[in-house]
Subunit: 337 residues, 2 copies
């Protein structure tokens, strides 16, 4: 009998199981619920790589002492609408959530708020913090640095991070939320194409010999994935890392260990902007609607033409109705923790 | 006898000739000098496409009434560190310069400042405003929307702008300044490869038949250049446009005329962040130095490994010493204006 590789779990069950595990691992009750919810929300919204399927790695990080379940961010310095916090190696998703909340509050007081966070851990799905801002009715922009995993343009050794960046604009009929890493494909995506025996849809890296390739196995061998836009993404990744380090006072990519299991002391930036403080909210919504409508009038060349985040609400509603997809063996292991 | 296609003009002569023309076209004296300097600085720093060689097009825009030489930005609304200005169709480079100055001042008062500008004109070289912020010792981030010139991912008709974005971080030994459009290659760059009979170094667009291509002539025929990172740059371009429209209250790309000679009513955003307000300036500089040093330790795969802006200071110093390169026939025409 073939075991199913994926099962569907009701959202509330998912949150309860994860929260119980986190409680046992030393989380306070409200923090266990919040963190469990953020993992579940990633899977609910279709970002399976950084949702529940990633939870076992998070448990390892807690057990290895990489993540301190009880640590909370500490305010280091502030000036007007700009603040620097130290994440004290607490859970990355809780640190990030708190810092976006703080940026949103600052945007209420100053129109714009910027919170820079040092010494934090992986925030899992970055899009969560964009949705958080948009749900609060404000623009959210945030990014994180990562360990070195991307060669700079012109080089063969990974020295840049793929530094995901999120940009969110609120809209009543569905927020626009861009959530993208600066590499063209994540290693997870590259592996998944290889396992399916497929080529990447566009060149995603170099061979060991230095030729551009769409062959996922060749990129896994060379460790040379491509930044988006070649030299352009290379420059963008470097600047995002530098901004995160300069604003937070924390580490930049080249100071981080090159091991996914030991990745820590990340630097992040959270910006919230309240457009309603300088103009009528109706105009924001109408303009976002008009931009979406114009996009949807595009002449399709075959593939669907979508705005960033367009699929999320459909996936969310399907997953809430049918249950959240989780890797079956991961779910079995989690229930035995 | 073959005419030289390019000559070198001393920087001061360049500024004086351009300023005299602008005075005759209705600019006040200080504004003529400032605008002339911004054109000359672009060429001085090697951005020839948006420097003096672009000046004749700017003169046409003044004569056509697209640009009002005497209009200056008007404050529409403000809240804390966030302001909305109307550019009143004044000269784009002067409007942009003034708004970045205002963002820098706001960052002095609030740590961060954000100025959104509606109804402005082409700012020419966006990097100028990044250098402006970095020269003032602060981080500068700015972007502009443009007329539709880039098909969204999945579509064949241009509906997005290539929306250049600038990120600048100050550093004593040379600022880091990223200045990039969201298209992989500008139409100017594509034309220049075609004129030299060269293929693009990486795929830069689609053929009429919808195949990825590195052939510049094929992309000129299809009007389908590529966004950086394919679907990623497509999403990024859309979000930058939406942010500019939402914050400025001005036009988004789909509302702009699809004619480079009539492009106007652009929306732009200028953000300045003062890292010295929340930490020691020495640390900012040391961190920027460390990031640059690490980059320079990369194993070259053949091409030089450079940080964004690295070439600018070399080009600047060479051009100041030898004269600023200007297209010979453009220079002849300008002197007869």
């Amino acid at each position: 009998m073939v075991e199913p590789t994926e099962i569907r779990v009701p959202y509330d069950d998912l949150v309860n199981v994860l929260a119980r595990i986190l409680l046992e691992l030393g989380f306070a009750e409200d923090r266990a619920s919040r963190a469990a919810g953020l993992f579940a929300n990633a899977s609910r919204d279709g970002v399976y790589s950084h949702g529940v399927n990633r939870f076992p790695r998070f448990v390892r990080a807690l057990r290895n002492g990489i993540v301190d379940p009880q640590a909370t961010p500490v305010l280091i310095s502030q000036f007007g609408a700009l603040e620097r916090w130290d994440g004290c190696l607490g859970p990355g998703m809780l640190n990030a959530y708190q810092c976006m909340e703080r940026a949103i509050a600052l945007s209420g007081a100053h129109g714009i708020g910027c919170v820079a966070l040092a010494n934090t851990n992986h925030w899992m799905r970055g899009g969560n913090y964009g949705w958080q801002a948009a749900d609060a009715g404000v623009i959210g922009i945030c990014w994180t640095n990562t360990m070195p995993n991307l060669p700079p343009w012109g080089a063969s050794d990974p020295r840049l991070g793929n530094n995901p960046v999120i940009i969110a604009v609120p809209r009543r009929e569905g927020h626009l939320v861009l959530d993208m890493a600066i590499s063209q494909f994540s290693y997870g995506a590259i592996e998944s194409y290889r396992l399916k025996g497929q080529m990447l849809p566009v060149p995603g890296g170099f061979t060991v010999e230095g030729e551009l390739t769409s062959d996922p196995a060749a990129i896994e061998r060379s460790y040379r994935p491509l930044p988006i836009g070649y030299w352009k993404g290379s420059g963008l990744a470097l600047m995002l890392d530098l901004l995160a380090g300069v604003l937070s006072g924390g580490k930049t990519t080249h100071e981080l260990p090159s091991d996914p299991e030991r990745e820590t002391r990340l630097s992040q930036v959270f910006i919230a902007i309240n457009p309603n403080s300088i103009g009528p909210p109706e105009r924001v919504n109408a303009l976002a609607d008009a931009v979406v409508e114009d996009l949807h009038r595009a002449k399709s060349s075959g593939a669907p033409v979508r705005y960033p985040g367009e699929q999320v609400l459909k996936t969310r509603s399907e997953n809430l109705a049918r249950g959240i997809p989780v890797n079956a063996s991961i779910w079995r292991d989690l229930q035995q923790l």
